[in-house]
Subunit: 342 residues, 2 copies
DNA sequence: AGAATTATTTTACGCGCGTAAATTTTTTAT
DNA sequence: ATAAAAAATTTACGCGCGTAAAATAATTCT
């Protein structure tokens, strides 16, 4: 019992009866050694519980097995969920994910990229802040590290972009709302941080035009990532007016959550029933959207597909070693989630 | 312009006119070199933008500047928030935080500890899963790495524990609910994953006894971390019965969010008004608690204080180099947050 | 069985830095 | 001003591994 402690790969190679370079090869890719050799190593591994020193391993490797994951705001459950999915997929693909949040802050985002650069990652999956991002810094980063952007795009940056088809999803829910009642007004922040927000506005306008309807934008002040608070405060003001719309489509679910809270406080009945005062819809299918009062009608982003495709693309890029320059954009369609709020 | 690229510390030392070990000393602690030396290095640093290779740096250091942060479930905004605060504090203290989530899974928690061990962290801040944790694995880990537990305790493990005083906070809200209406029933999961849940139940029972009241536990089935869903499903059943309580105190806010959603669906009026059907209170002051319908009366955990103290204790431990064995527990009191749900 | 192929071992070197010990410089005390 | 003490710097060595090239062994094919 209690076999002596293994200090390094040399010793481990000794107890497995192999040379160190062979063992090294095994740890880089177990498939590259003979079956019998592999069995011997794995037997020794079970007995001695040795792990190569991460720092020594990565010092001389051109490319590490690290994959950086950068999200703009981890306290948003949407990003927490997608990050979790991506993490799992990276591990399954044989990489070591390193999760960083930019906390909604441009400077932090830059620091994250700097930190990652010094970790020599094989690749990076990044959901940028959007407008608040330092475009130049991200460009420079993408020049050095294979990077796939997801969720929110920055034109002509990164190898690839994977996201949602806002044109389709907003078009769909505008159609739905129009067919089942009054056409929606669009509730959003006047200075959106996120490219998706801008695309959704455009999509709303074009959908209304297509239907031959007059658009109505409700643009409210507010900055940062406290969307619920902004939706609540500004929404309260909007809803208190006599001119309030009969149907509101919010640029995202978190704004809608705040708006629903404001509506409740004003004792407005939200829903599609005959005695309802107002209909509210959102976008994203936020994890909490089904627990709002009433449940929020919204469009689900296919975040599982986005995560899968993003990881797959990055792994491809890493495998091919190709820095193919600007690649293609992939947009996944949204799915209408009908609950009781609209 | 465009000075030649710096490959390593040797080159950087050359362009700053110093020897490499001196530069190395500077990067370990700028205070340990002479003022004039420091100025020269920092001037060169501004011009050449060199960063020491992380892997080479940590290979020979006994102790890295890494601090591991392990939370049980990052998709829970409460943990996302406290993790964010802790991250910032670690950076301010001159360390490099590494954030890992156990995703509510025992095996993942163990893997996280293994990963951390091979990163040779100076210390670790850990919020364990609780009952689902592999106690032995955590014990072994704490033997090797200075570890401060926070949020949820595992008796006799780790150097220190920082958390909330459930006895105080539950006692306070039970008092409040009793003084302002009917005494509360306690809504919880029958098999709680979290030690806090168990302490809260005990605290509820003792508070009721102190007040000379008959306790009423409503224990519902359900496992995992989908608290809203459990609160919604089980809560719907409970609230539909004629025997439903007039006042419900939920073991945590996420259960309460689900319960509120169920109440809304049953068209029950929640609140402390004269025409209300039921009062609902929670615990934690979850980031979304103020946007529920109606706003959730709850107890705020002082997560900023917990984060500050946890980091401070760990930095102390690291500084003193002392493995003092089992230290003290620090419990912060909660703060009553009166909203309209109770 | 012999040749061609594939897998493994040996040899040899270097990565970029930490760190103890030796040396030099600077500061303080006399 | 000079010696002693303290601080800063340099010298010298090694960490644990990757990796390339050459040599050897095992396997497969004809």
């Amino acid at each position: 019992m209690a076999p002596r402690k293994i200090k390094n790969m040399e010793e481990f190679a000794a107890v497995s009866g192999l040379s160190r370079p062979t063992v090294s090869k095994y740890f880089n890719d177990p498939e590259t050694v003979r079956r019998s050799t592999r069995d011997r190593i794995e037997a020794a591994l079970a007995q001695y519980d040795y792990r190569p020193n991460i720092y020594a391993v990565n010092q001389n490797r051109r490319l590490t097995k690290n994959i950086g994951i950068v999200v703009p705001f981890l306290a948003d459950p949407f990003f927490a969920e997608i990050a979790r999915t991506i993490e799992t997929l990276c591990i399954e693909a044989g990489f070591r994910p390193i999760l960083l949040s930019s906390h909604g802050d441009r400077a932090v985002e830059c620091e994250n990229l700097d930190s990652l650069k010094s970790l020599k990652p094989a690749g990076v999956l990044m959901a940028p802040l959007g407008r608040a991002s330092d475009r130049r810094a991200i460009e420079r980063f993408c020049d050095e590290v294979p990077t796939v952007l997801f969720d929110s795009n920055i034109d002509s940056v990164g190898e690839d972009f994977i996201g949602s088809d806002n044109q389709q999803s907003i078009g769909m829910i505008v159609d739905y709302l129009y067919r089942t009642g009054d056409p929606p007004a669009f509730f959003e922040m006047s200075k959106p941080v996120n490219p998706n927000a801008i695309k959704r506005r455009t999509a709303y306008l074009s959908a209304m035009e297509r239907l031959g309807l007059a658009p109505r934008l409700i643009q409210v002040a507010g900055e940062g990532w406290a969307f619920e608070e902004i939706g609540f405060q500004a929404g309260g003001t909007v809803l208190a007016k006599r001119t309030r719309p009969k149907t509101v489509l919010c640029s995202n679910d978190r704004l809608a959550i705040g708006l629903l809270s404001a509506a409740f406080e004003l004792q407005l009945r939200v829903g599609h029933g005959p005695d309802a005062d107002i209909r509210v819809a959102g976008h994203d299918d936020h994890p909490f959207a089904r627990f709002t009062c009433p449940g929020l009608t919204t469009v689900a982003q296919d975040y599982a597909a986005i995560a899968r495709r993003s990881v797959a693309r990055l792994v491809d890029l890493i495998g091919s070693g190709a820095r193919a320059g600007r690649g293609a954009d992939t947009l996944f369609p949204g799915k209408l989630i009908m609950r009781t709020s609209a």
